[in-house]
Point group: C2
Chain length 252, copies 2
Amino acid sequence: MGKVYLIGAGPGAPDLLTLRAAKLLAEADVVFYDALVHPDTIALATKAKKIAVGKRAGQLSTDQRFINRILVEAGLRHACVVRIKGGDPMLFGRAQEEIDALDAAGVPLEVVPGITAALATAASLKTSLTKRGVSRSVTFATPRVGHGETPGEWADAAANGDTAILYMAMGEVEAVHAALMNRGIAPSTPVVIVENASLPNERQIRGTLETLPTLVAERITGPAILCIGQVFGPIDARSSTTAEAIVSTINN
Amino acid sequence: MGKVYLIGAGPGAPDLLTLRAAKLLAEADVVFYDALVHPDTIALATKAKKIAVGKRAGQLSTDQRFINRILVEAGLRHACVVRIKGGDPMLFGRAQEEIDALDAAGVPLEVVPGITAALATAASLKTSLTKRGVSRSVTFATPRVGHGETPGEWADAAANGDTAILYMAMGEVEAVHAALMNRGIAPSTPVVIVENASLPNERQIRGTLETLPTLVAERITGPAILCIGQVFGPIDARSSTTAEAIVSTINN
């Protein structure tokens, strides 16, 4: 019996993969990859059989139970099996079903974390998700509601965090706008949509909670992150003054 | 004028650095590093002058305004300046002050994201922070309150997320226990403390919200993450049944 490595490929740019993930891809006998993993990342698996089991919203995709089953089978037959997903597997990655299936079958498993899209987005925007005196909490949520789940719970979480980061929200901007306005979030709260974070075709669209429904007028087809909160607004007067003081210190 | 790279070193294990960060360290003329960055990571900067500007809770550390100033000065004088911090710089990393100072001085800046401690923790625990039907939101917060900040806001955020991840919480477990109990979180809610996630001396301490104050009886000296939520409990009956069905399918 071998080992299965459940790996996060990061947000898109191939060089935002971890060193550990790159080494494991080079050693892999089989690689199962999702649609959002960059071709240059898959190409690091020079000696592996590569199998696409991708999921993209609204497109035909491999059934999750079938993926679970082929992972267990591969783990029983090969020394080094890599299962690689976009972003980080433990955040909106449906990883638990695969982990539980491997555990139940007694197949050894290691999870290798990846850069989640929200943190690549913050890096691109040069905006810290936390900031003393402004944001001491960040909520990652999705407005997508599955079978048997309670609608609106995500909005309670998002409304109570100082900064809110919504995954898989592009089809739900009207609902996000309504739910957060209903929960008393100020219409002037800064909003940024970042599509394809970390890739050459990255796009940043800025507005406010009030204008959110109009921001997706241009069709967004790539994976996108919706950022909501005061940290996404312009630098406040106090920060600028501090910065000017620093420059003045250096020049004198 | 050169460029300053604000880099996340990841949670601790040197091979959880990104490929981009490793390349930039090798090219760097100067590296400013925090106390939590692994010595093997700093060692990748083979030709750089290396300067510790570390901060650890309760220890003597370099004043933030001084760090801002030396970063600007280095950016004006060197081609490739690396500022590297543990975890991801945009999540509880005090990055915004450094970014604003560099922007104000007109020094080009790029942020390179890192694996944040919470995602390394989830990988170690083999527990997805989100799970269909159980957790559709995750709150990252800190119970530490700065000057002029409102106590308890972090607890509203944490109580409203399905999963709560608390940074820098080890000195405040009594307050966390009280605040979350007061907000109606069930005493039986699973809790895990993970110290030194991803390192050889990693420690996992499990309990419930009710037993949280007793979990830190053994002194925790390394950086630790406090995880609270149903996803940290045992695998439920339904998952096990699914997993058994898979194994049975394979065996027959």
